[in-house]
């Protein structure tokens, strides 16, 4: 998500140790905006994506169930 932001020049992450819940992020912007901005934007965009996916999925499941019922009848 962060990579999709045109202001970001470099973005990478690594997990220091799998037992600890810690991720090292490195974000480098093209010099216009502070680096925290794309991070924040990326997180909010990701949240929006997940909400949209949830609603689409639920609609799709409902549709499938309705379709199954009409097939039964």
């Amino acid at each position: 998500m962060i990579m999709k932001n045109p202001e970001v020049e470099f973005c990478g992450y690594c997990i220091t140790h799998p037992s600890e819940s810690k991720i090292n992020f490195r974000i480098q912007t093209r010099g216009g905006i502070p680096a925290v901005e794309p991070f924040r934007k990326g997180l909010t965009d990701l949240m929006d994506v997940c909400h949209h996916m949830l609603s689409t999925f639920e609609a799709s499941v409902k549709e499938y169930k309705a379709q199954k019922e009409t097939e039964m009848d």
Binding site: K4, N5, P6, D45, D48, V49, A59, K65, K68
Partner: protein, 307 residues
């Protein structure tokens, strides 16, 4: 036009060559290609994204996610395995166990039994709470004793006839309501998902009497809390015939792929092969073993269509 065509291919397909897979990584980031703006745009995403449920029943759910990136699909898969909470047996109070199954082995086996209970109705157990209250614990009891069957025939050696209750199944587990659970869930029946899981085997005189506490947990903590048996995904296969294939070669081509993928049509007396349903294919790459057919087919996967 040829360059545009192959660029499209590079952006949208993962191609399976003879000795390797090409164009694996997603490259649609801003600045990668002149003439393409790949900056994040929620509107384009919403237009391009949809979910189709192909199959759904008690034990299996299959659906298609079209229009998202590999990272997000994988994230959902991992979350399904590790972070969706379920209820499972955590503490086993052994009152009497005279079977040959050791206490800890029995406790381990009981923990792995899937329980039919909606985890949203319960809370997580707070740290350091040994007893467990009615909002976070489900109590089950397993009390069973094996005895000799007095009506068995003299010479029979079939344990099903000789002994009563010699196999302990998960259906022998009974729910014991705690506190006001009987009022809160009058219709709910909390039980193991499957009734025929064999827990232990007994012989006459042996007895198991245990009380089990189920708590809510996630798969990251212990695999018994994982709600799915497995969660996997694959990309939609895309098979294109570079040249039309006819006659004997068509029959051979059909055998190279999973059944139902290639269809032979009779056009003006000649047999012509056509890709009927690429989705069924499992990509065994059998086609690369045949010299003459190798170059006539292009095997690829659609990059953002996950099944």
């Amino acid at each position: 036009m040829a360059e545009r065509g192959s660029l499209e291919e590079m952006r949208s397909r993962v191609v399976l060559g003879e000795f390797g897979v090409r164009h694996v990584h997603t490259t649609d980031f801003p600045g990668s290609y002149p003439g393409y703006t790949d900056a994040w745009d929620p509107v384009t995403f919403r237009q391009g994204f949809h979910v189709d449920v192909t199959h759904m029943d008690e034990g299996l759910l299959e659906f298609d996610l079209v229009g998202i990136d590999a990272a997000i699909a994988n994230a959902f898969r991992r979350i399904l395995l590790a972070e969706v909470p379920t209820m499972a047996v955590e503490k086993v109070f052994v009152y009497n166990n005279t079977s040959i199954v050791q206490d800890e082995i029995l406790a381990h086996r009981l923990g792995l039994i899937p329980i039919q209970a909606d985890p949203r109705l319960f809370e997580y157990r707070s740290q350091g709470d040994e007893e467990g209250t009615e909002i976070d614990t489900l109590q089950f009891q397993l009390k069973i004793k094996c005895s000799r069957n007095p009506r068995a025939a003299k010479e029979s050696s079939d344990p099903n006839e000789l002994y009563i209750n010699h196999k302990v199944y998960s259906r022998h587990m009974t729910w014991v309501p705690l506190g006001n659970q009987a009022d809160l869930f009058p219709d709910a029946c909390f039980r193991p998902v499957h009734d025929d899981i064999l827990i232990a085997q007994l012989r006459p005189g042996q007895e198991i009497d245990v009380l089990m506490h189920c708590v809510k947990g996630i798969g990251k903590d212990h695999a018994k809390f994982s709600p799915v048996a497995t969660a996997s995904y694959r990309l939609l296969p895309d098979i294109t015939l570079v040249q039309p294939i006819e006659g004997e070669a068509a029959e051979k081509l059909k055998k190279c792929f999973s059944p139902g993928v290639i269809e032979i049509q009779d056009i003006k007396g000649k047999k012509v092969a056509r890709v009927a349903n690429a989705r069924l294919d499992t990509f065994s790459r059998e086609i690369f073993r045949h010299e003459e057919l190798k170059n006539m087919v292009r095997l690829a996967r659609v990059r953002n269509h996950y099944i």
